[in-house]
Amino acid sequence: MENEIIAQENLVYKKPALMNDVTMHYCPGCSHGVVHKLVAEVIEEMGMEEKTVGVSPVGCSVFAYRYIDIDWQEAAHGRAPAVATAIKRLWPDRLVFTYQGDGDLACIGTAETIHALNRGEHITIIFINNAIYGMTGGQMAPTTLLGQKTSTCPYGRVPEIHGYPLNITDLASRLEGTCYVTRQSVESVGSIRKAKAAIRKAFEASMAGKGSSLVEIVSTCNSGWKLSPVKANEWMKEHMFEKYVKGDLKDTTL
């Protein structure tokens, strides 16, 4: 039998039903697609399809609402944590998360991010950190590494001119309102599994009313970094992980 291999009992993997059948606008090699899939999988596995509201940012993932089949609100630049705060407080039994990049979260929306986390809003922030403004052409972001070349610091970031990289996840771990703060990545199967477990833990903490959760995904932007997808992953492992150290920074969910 030719089709035996795709029999139900042999099924070990499938696309999450919540992922819409549309072509993604993300560049090949971008981390967004993997993280979208993990978010969709976790919502499905928690059975929260009908009780989840996502808040999408401004940036490459501005169209997150096209890809995951749930209710969404599209926030203004950086304001996603404030928007999520209102939704969660007004519908407390819903799962509310934001999905934001570093330009949106760590620059334009620093105030919203810090205060939502510090208030202990029962929301999860998924934070994609690729150390540049990817959508607008690879400009320097607060998270850009020292020495890293971008279109607005073409000779590399130097602290005398550009200041230091902002490690907002470390900051978040020191805030009393946060219950779970972690830094993950999605460049390998092992990393993807850990990132998924982290998203699940954060979503569960939100639903259990334990406080704010921040899941940073250290990511690549191979287009903005002007590297191939494989080289971008290597560059990330070599440079990004040194500054943005992976692992749980805070966990009071137990």
Partner: protein
């Protein structure tokens, strides 16, 4: 937060004084673009910038012209008493939800700090979640299997689609213009002169009209209650045949532009205002009437 709460179908509002409301313009424009209902109260103080904490009406342009980016309007109600401050909250919510558009109560530091008797409007119970789901099928509270996902957004990259979205908004604004104009008049029919004023300036104008009557000047009052939509036709009718129209505002001349655009040169229109937190005296208004016409 107002955007988020409104997008979740709930009755949400916020209030501030001028510089705070300036900060909110981003959110108001996003709400207009995403067609979200919500109420903003601006108890105006003098500007520009940090300005002063004394009363002013100098945010008229900001409130009636949009304030944020893009082609949009906010429904603007101007209370002239503490009673109207109370009544207009319910009215603003009603209009905001009827048209899925932000509404603003444009008050000022005089009304905001005044003490007056108030009959509170009847208490309305909070809507249940089921009622909200029924009344706001567009809101985000979790996609049930029987419908498509709701997405609250003002974004559209295709210009031909965005133009249609804009045309839809303009159609809605036209409906509001036709149905929601509110105003009040006093002694207009037998008057030689007309004062046009809103909010606390209209209260002061009432006293000025009394003083003018004692001096045998016949002056009527036209008080726009909705500043947007502006009562264009109605102010034209009230101004018809008058010797002059004096627009009294606590600013350097903002609503006077709408009055001039409406009256369109048929009657002389002048402006009188005090600035920087100074509130005009009734006598000053009477003198301005004498001087300008």
């Amino acid at each position: 937060m107002i955007y988020g709460g409104a997008g979740a179908g709930k009755r949400v509002m916020t209030s501030s004084s001028s510089p705070g409301v300036a900060l909110m313009q981003e959110g108001i424009a996003y709400m207009a673009g995403a067609e979200l209902p919500g109420v903003f109260v601006n108890v105006q103080r003098g500007g520009p910038g940090l300005g002063t904490i004394q009363p002013s009406q100098s945010d008229y342009f900001q409130a009636t012209r949009g304030g944020g980016n893009g082609d949009y309007y906010v429904i603007v109600l101007a209370p002239n008493s503490v009673q109207e401050m109370a009544d207009f909250v319910d009215l603003a919510f009603e209009l905001a939800f009827k048209y899925r558009n932000p509404a603003m109560i444009l008050s000022d530091g005089v009304i905001g700090q005044m003490m007056e008797k108030v009959v509170l409007p009847p208490f309305k119970p909070r809507r249940t979640d089921e009622e909200i789901m029924r009344e706001c099928p567009w809101a985000t509270f979790g996609r049930t299997k029987d419908r498509q996902p709701n997405v609250i957004t003002s974004l559209e990259l295709k210009p031909e689609v965005m133009e249609q979205k804009n045309l839809h908004l303009q159609e809605k604004y036209q409906q509001i213009r036709e149905a929601e104009v509110r105003y009040e008049t006093q002694h207009v029919d037998d008057a030689d002169y007309l004062i046009v004023a809103f909010g606390s300036a209209a209260r002061i104008a009432e006293k000025a009209i009394e003083i003018a009557q004692e001096k045998d000047m016949k002056v009527g009052l036209f008080r726009p209650i909705t500043l947007w939509p502006f009562p264009e036709k109605e102010v034209v009718a009230a101004a018809k045949g008058k010797k002059g129209v004096l627009v009294v505002e606590i600013n350097a001349g903002q609503m006077v532009e709408d009055v001039r655009l409406s009256v369109n040169g048929e009657v002389p229109v002048a402006h009188f205002g005090r600035l920087g937190g100074i509130v005009p005296e009734p006598d000053e208004i009477v003198n301005a009437l004498k001087e300008k016409f």
